[in-house]
């Protein structure tokens, strides 16, 4: 555990369960709201956690999310047991996906998940071992104020 931890909890995720998939991230969202983080931070953490959780549902056997909150950061470690990722650089590319037709029919598999995680986090670490599993670490810094544009357009003067 990281020093000065103010909150730490783990959540299990079952591979292939599209009905319950997303519930772990939903709990994380609720906890961060309760801890009174600014909405923009809660939203970024929620999106990143959800994309990573759904990757477990889609591509792994099982796994979990671990939320750790310290005074200056939110860390979400998403780890699974599963097939792993053969080429991480390729997997990180916008549009790259190995999703099945069935998954695509549900609106997943656009190859935007990992890029979305990167975009919404301040630090993202990903490692994977073929045939064993994948680990994604999402860090969101909580100490640099709540004003932050979510897209690349310049902020309008207010």
């Amino acid at each position: 555990m990281i020093a000065e931890t103010v909150f730490n909890q783990g959540f299990e995720v079952e591979g292939g369960d599209f009905v319950r998939g997303g519930e772990a991230s939903c709990r994380i969202l609720e906890i961060l709201k309760e801890l009174a983080f600014p909405p923009s931070i809660v939203r970024r953490a929620g999106i990143a956690a959800y994309e990573a959780e759904m990757n477990i549902v889609m591509y792994a056997d099982d796994g979990g999310l671990e939320l750790t909150v310290t005074p200056d950061r939110i860390v979400i470690v998403v780890a699974d047991r599963g097939q792993g990722i053969p080429d991480i650089e390729l997997a990180m590319r916008d549009g790259y996906s190995t999703a099945t037709d069935e998954i695509r029919e549900m609106g997943f598999g656009a190859g935007m998940g990992l890029p979305n995680i990167k975009k919404n986090s301040d630090e993202m670490k990903i490692s994977s071992t073929l045939g064993e599993g994948t680990r994604v670490e999402i860090v969101i810094k909580a100490n640099h104020g709540e004003v932050r544009c979510e897209d690349s357009r310049p902020c309008a003067e207010s």
Partner: protein, 116 residues
């Protein structure tokens, strides 16, 4: 524009049971790709989609969307409505297509508010 006004004007059929329509809609996004919605819609937006599975409720919850309009007469699955009711996310259905719904919303003056 209020969600209740939009629901009346487009004669949307409400599928959820305990959601208030007394809220301001800040914009709209049309997409059937969940990650695309995650990347490009903002708080208070209405989401137009053909999807009916529970993840539309989850995505709406993460993004704090104002509601979902399911088009082409499709009906959300019971698990979807359960989740949506739990999180108080209004879901509607309509026989109209995504094109028709978006066109009418734009025609009625709804624009996407810039967030920052």
């Amino acid at each position: 524009m209020r969600l209740s006004q939009i629901a009346d004007a487009l004669e949307l059929e409400m599928c959820t049971t305990n959601c208030s329509l007394d809220c301001e809609v800040t914009g709209c996004y049309v997409s059937d790709i969940l990650s695309d919605v995650m990347a490009n819609s903002k708080e208070g937006y209405l989401w137009i989609t053909i999807h009916i599975h529970p993840n539309i409720a989850a995505v709406s919850e993460f993004l704090a969307l104002g509601g979902v309009i399911v088009v082409n007469g499709r009906r959300p699955q019971p698990e979807t409505l359960e989740k949506a009711n739990e999180h108080k996310i209004p879901i509607f259905t309509t026989k109209l297509s995504a094109y028709e719904v978006a066109g009418r919303l734009y025609g009625s003056g709804l624009r996407c508010q810039k967030e920052c």
